[in-house]
Structures are given as C-alpha cells and as structure tokens.
Amino acid sequence: MMRNKINKKQILSLGDRYRIYVLFVLVFVVMTLFAPHFFNAWNLTSIMKTVAMNGTVAIGFTIILIVGQLDLSIGTIITFAAVIGLGLKDAVGYGVSVPLAIIAGGLIGLINGLLVAKVKINSFIVTLGMLTALQGAIYTITGGNTIAVTDDQAFAISDWLQHQIVPMLTPRVIIAIVLVVSFSIFLRRTRKGRNFFMVGGNSKTAWLAGVDSDKYTIVAFVISGVMAAIGGILFAMESAAATLNLGTNSLMYVLSATIIGGTSMAGGKGGVFRSFIAVLTLTTLYNGIVLLGLGNEVQIFISGIILASVILYEAFVEYRHDKVVGQRPELLKELNTIQ
C-alpha cells in the first residue's frame, strides 16, 4: 500500500519535473493527428527554423532568471545586433560585421550587468531604460529604414542558412542546439555553472560559500546580450534584412516559454534545455493552430491560458511549501520529494 503511494508520488514528481516534455509530446501528437499538413519534413523544418532565434535568446534569458534578475532589453538587442551586422556588411563584410554585432550585444549586457550588480539598480529599471535607449539609437542609426542586403553574396549566405545540413536542421538551428547543449552542460555539470543557481537561489549562502554574486550577475547579463545578438544577427542574415521591430515580440515569447519551461522568476531554479523545449512547444502549438485554420487571436488566447496555468501552479506549489516550513518537517520532506 505504502509502496503504491510512493510510486504514485514519484510519478507525480516526475510529471511535474518533466512537464514541459510531456506538454511538448502532447502538443506534437495532437497536431500530428488533427492539423493538416503538420507532419511532414517541410513543416517540421519550418518549425525548427522559427525556434532557432527565440531558442537561442532563451538561453541567456533563462540564466538571467536563474540569477534572480530580469532582462527586458533582449528584444531591442536582437534588433540592434541585426542592424549593426547588416548595416556594416557592405563596408566591412560579414566576417567583421557579425562579430562586431555579437560584441555589441555583449557590451550592452555588460552595461546592464554593471548597473545592476555594482550600482545596485533594479534590473527591471535598468533594462527598461536600456530598451528605450537602444530603440532611440536604432532609429537614429537607420533613419527609420529597414536595413536590407540584396547582393548575390547576401542571398547566397541567406540560402545557405536555410539549407538543411541534416534533415530538418539548418545551420541556424544547429548553432542554436549546440549552444543549448553547451550551456546545459555548463550549468549542470560544472561548479561555476551551479554557482549561478546559488546566486539566484540564496545570495546569503552564495556569499558564505565565497561566491562573488556580482560577478555572476554581470556574466549572466553579458551572456544574455550575446545570445540575443547571435539570435538576431543570424535571423537577419537569413532574411537578408533587419527590420526595426525584429525583436519586438521576442520578449513576451521568450519570457512565456522560459516560465512554462520551469524556470522560476524568483531565481535559483531553471534549465536552458527545458526553456528550449518550451520555445519548441509554443512554436509547434502556434504552427498547428495556423494549420488548423484558426486565427492569431486563438494563438494569443491559448498561450495566455498555458502561461496563466503554469504561474498559478507554481504559486500553489510555493504556497504549499511555505505553509509547512518549520511546522511539519515530515510533510516538508514529503513535499520536497514531490518537487
């Protein structure tokens, strides 16, 4: 009897921990069964291509949330990097302009990080200010015009970025997957990686353990800036154009996916791979909704429902946990098993 109970709890625990994988498989199977034209190589490649940008950006954003901060500027960093990378292409070529765009993203992250960690300004305020300043800079640099490259070389690179090296995986998707796997291993398997969780989960413990919280916070913002820049410049190279609202929708998309993927906004908990799967899940869902002939309003409604459900569930778990802390140690132990 007891054994059955434990098994049930263990199953619940695993279901909770791996909920994003379960959700992905569920969405995938439902769309395969009901959405016309969903289950074929062309469409799945299209989904993977769409995942590449936000999946890359989600790496940095997840690390930011893990250290207990927020980065609202990721959308404008995406656009800024795209504008720099394509805008300088004719003058210096992609060989120089692309690294410059990525460095620019890192520098913006560095400024965000320094202001948050050293000047002790709330990351919401800092990154909101950065978002606004960058928008102004983008409009000033471009004069309000989209940057486009239409020469043969640009089109050749664009074609190459869209070509499948292995089935369903284009270079941009492969880059995203390599980055996701690398950062997953780094965060889970190295001491420095695990320190990010300690900084976000309990800063006092981090301090007692001799972990430099400021340094990790700054590095998290730099990673966030670099990932947003990589996502933005690669997307722009594939489109052969950088529009001025390129990253506008990415913030909400990545924020939703990261939370749905199980990363806590309170810090100290989360995973890059799970965020990537969450981006993949949302993209698959949106793709299927379109194929089912439903409108954009349905997409927004369903993603809102999913996000609200996950946040409510997280709040409930937190509440249940807090309720027994210090009062019923045996219950706390049991709950920890479930979580």
Binding site: Q10, L14, Y18, Y21, V25, F28, V29, T32, P36, H37, F39, N40, A41, W42, N43, L44, T45, S46, I47, K49, T50, M53, N54, Y139, T142, G144, N145, T146, I147, A148, T150, F155, S158, Q162, P167, M168, F235, S239, A240, A241, T243, L244, N245, L246, T248, N249, T283, Y286, N287, V290, L291, G293, G295, N296, E297
Partner: protein, 399 residues
C-alpha cells in the same frame, strides 16, 4: 524510474522526428480544379464579380481605368535630393520596369476551385475588411481560400510562408510586412514554384521580379494628389508638420515623402516644420500635436497624417483643446473615425482607400491569371479624395 522516463521521452521524440523525415514533405498536391469546362465557367463569372459591392455600397472591384503615367526613370534616382519626386522613382514605380524571373505560366484552366492562400501583415480592422473583400471574390469562384495573419511579426510571417509553400497552393497572395524584406520572401516563394501576387504594400523593386503582379493603392499618387488639395487650401504657404506611418513600410515613404516632394515643386512656399512617427495611438499623437502647437505657435498651419483613425483622433483632440481648429488636416483614409472627422470638419480631406477592394482586387487578379488573361505588372486601385462634399457617399464605413 528517472532514467526510464527520460528514455521514454527520447524514444517518443526520436520516433516522431524519424517519422517526420520519411513522411511526405510538402508533397500534397494542390486542388486539381482543372477541367475543360472550368475555364469557360470561370470566365462567365466575371459579371457576378463586377456586381459585388463593399460594405460602404461602393463597387467592390475598382481598377484604375487610366492606369498611371510613369515618367522615365532617372539614371540614378538616389543621387537626386529627397525632395525631388523622381528621387522616389524606384519605390513609387516599383514593378513597372521589373525583369520577371522564373514566373510560372498561367494554367489557363479557370479560377473555380483553386487553392489560394493569403498572408497579410497583421491584425487590424483594416485587415479584417480586406480579408472580407477577398473572401467575397473567392466565394464567387468557389476557391479553397485561406487567410493568415502573422500579427506584424516578420519571423512569424516567414514561418507562414513556409507553411503556405508546404500546402502547395495554386497561388499565394502576400502583403509583405516590410518593403525591404520582400525580395527574399518573394524569391523563396518563386524558387518553391508557387505563383505569387503581392498586394497592398509596395515592396522593393527586386521583389517584383519574382511575382506575377502587384495590386493595391497608388499610395504615392494618392498623396501627391491630396497634397495639391492641401496646398490650395493653405494658399500654398505656411508651416506644416507630418505624422508618419511606421518606419520601413512603403506607406511611411509614400505618405511623407510623396506629399513633401510634390509640394517642393507645387508649393515651395510651404515650409516643413517637423515630422514624427508616434505610432498608432491617439494619446501619443495628441501629445505630439500639443507639443507642436506649443513649439511652433501660429507658424503651424497644416498637419498631414499617415492614418485617419487613431492619429486623426489624436490630432483632432489636441487642436480642440488648444482652440486651433484653423489648422488644415489631411490624412490617409478611410476609416469610420476618419470619415466622421471629415464630416465634422476636423479633417479637411482623406484618401479613399478601400480595404475590401484591396483584398478583392488581389483575388480578382489571381482569378484573371488562372483564366489566362495577360496581366500588367502593376494594378492600382482608383484614386479619389474624400471631402465634406462627398463623404456621405462612403457610409457605412468598411472599418
């Protein structure tokens, strides 16, 4: 247990992905509506299409009868100053001198039952009216018609293009989100062998090479004409300001540089005081106009807006609060708010821009192509300016 679960997940993923690889990738054939009688039946529907009306009671399909007089292209338009109308030649007349590449031949088997996918730019009351108009024509031809909206997101629009190609439609209709991203989008659709007609938003000239035709409003032409009305009302002198469209798209250039470059020749006494793009929120426009009134005082006598709805309302509110109803306002139309403002005298003139007609003309052009008709590279909607004298003719509004 943990390992088993992970294994299960990996297995499911591997199976589904492997299945996908071997599944028929984008190979579903499009509707085969061809038949010997289909063309004749399709041609016979022309009268039925001509008889369709928009929500405002105007004929749904109105093709500009005389077309447009296209001046000779300067050797290097960009070398000319921006306030020279010919500087904008490549944008204004994009498509007129395009070199078509890999354009499929018309099947000449009629439009009835064809599968047509329309990808618009984003959700907006205008877009709803546009899709309604398109659907009216598609219904006459009993087309398998579907409209998709990427909600102003380029990444989503690119994904929708992929999805549309995957469905192998007989023809794709596209409003490019941005003039400069259009060439690569059009090229991709062209390379996939899907016939393409672009509409509404003018793309960069290169994009025209890859599409059968472009249809839509003659935005530059409309605003050049509107600017004459405006200048005449202003006595061809005074300070004016422009409220611009979202940067990047063709309306941004047509509705700002169109009138500005036109007036540099037609009314050089008119001075441009400022130009801003506050977006499409009434309160932001109201704030901007209030700031202008404070900054320029009596010097400002005219405002040209890229949108007659939210921007129109913002302007009207600011002018009322400042007691400056003397300022002559023109705008791109013709929304309900815009027409109400024309009726009340708050806006002097707006352009007639039939949203339903825009979508309808695109589908009708597709039908003409299926019917084997020789198409011009560009098909404009007719030009018309709405003033207080004829605004009643356009009620009830389309959106």
């Amino acid at each position: 247990m943990k390992k088993s679960f992970s294994l299960l997940v990996v297995l499911v993923l591997a199976l589904t992905f492997a299945g996908a690889v071997f599944a028929n990738g984008g190979s579903e054939s499009s509707t085969d509506a061809a038949g010997s009688g289909n063309l004749e039946a399709s041609l016979a529907l022309a009268g039925q299409v001509d008889a369709l009306t928009a929500a405002d009671g105007q004929p749904l399909i109105k093709v500009s009868g005389t077309g447009r007089e296209v001046p000779a292209r300067p050797a290097d338009p960009e070398a000319l100053p921006e306030d020279n109308p010919l500087h904008w030649w490549d944008m204004e007349f994009a498509g007129w001198n395009s070199t078509k590449k890999n354009i499929p031949d018309s099947p000449k088997d009629g439009a009835i039952g064809k599968k047509v996918i329309m990808i618009v730019h984003g959700d907006h009351p205008w877009t709803t009216a546009c899709i309604n108009g398109a659907t009216k024509v598609a219904d006459v031809y009993n087309m398998d018609f579907k409209a998709l909206s990427p909600n102003w997101d380029l990444a989503v629009q690119n994904q929708m293009i992929d999805q549309a190609i995957n469905e192998r439609p007989d023809l794709l209709l596209l409003i490019p989100l941005d003039a400069k991203t259009a060439p690569q989008q059009a090229r991709k659709i062209n390379q996939a062998g899907v016939p393409l007609i672009m509409f509404n938003t003018l793309p960069e000239a290169e994009a025209m090479d890859y599409c059968i035709a472009w249809t839509g409003p003659d935005d530059f032409g409309q605003f050049r004409k509107l600017s004459h009305l405006w200048a005449d009302k202003l006595g061809k002198e005074g300070g004016v300001a422009y409220i611009q469209h979202a940067p990047g798209g063709s309306p941004y250039f047509a509705r700002y540089w169109g009138p500005r470059s036109e007036l540099a020749e037609y009314a050089p006494g008119i001075k441009v005081l400022d130009a801003q793009a506050p977006g499409f929120e009434a309160d932001k426009t109201q704030q901007l106009v209030s700031d202008w009134l404070t900054r320029f005082g009596d010097e400002i006598v005219g405002i040209c807006a890229a949108d007659d709805s939210a921007q129109g309302l913002g302007i009207s509110e600011a002018l009322k609060k400042a007691g400056r109803e003397d300022i002559v306002v023109i705008a791109a139309g013709n929304s309900k708010q815009g027409m109400d403002l024309v009726k009340s005298g708050d806006i002097y003139a707006i352009t007639y821009q039939t949203a339903e007609g825009d979508g309808a003309l695109a589908v009708k052009t597709a039908a003409d192509w299926f019917n084997g008709e020789e198409l011009p590279p560009v098909r404009y909607l007719p030009q018309h300016m709405i003033t207080i004298d004829d605004v009643e003719d356009f009620y009830p509004p389309q959106w």
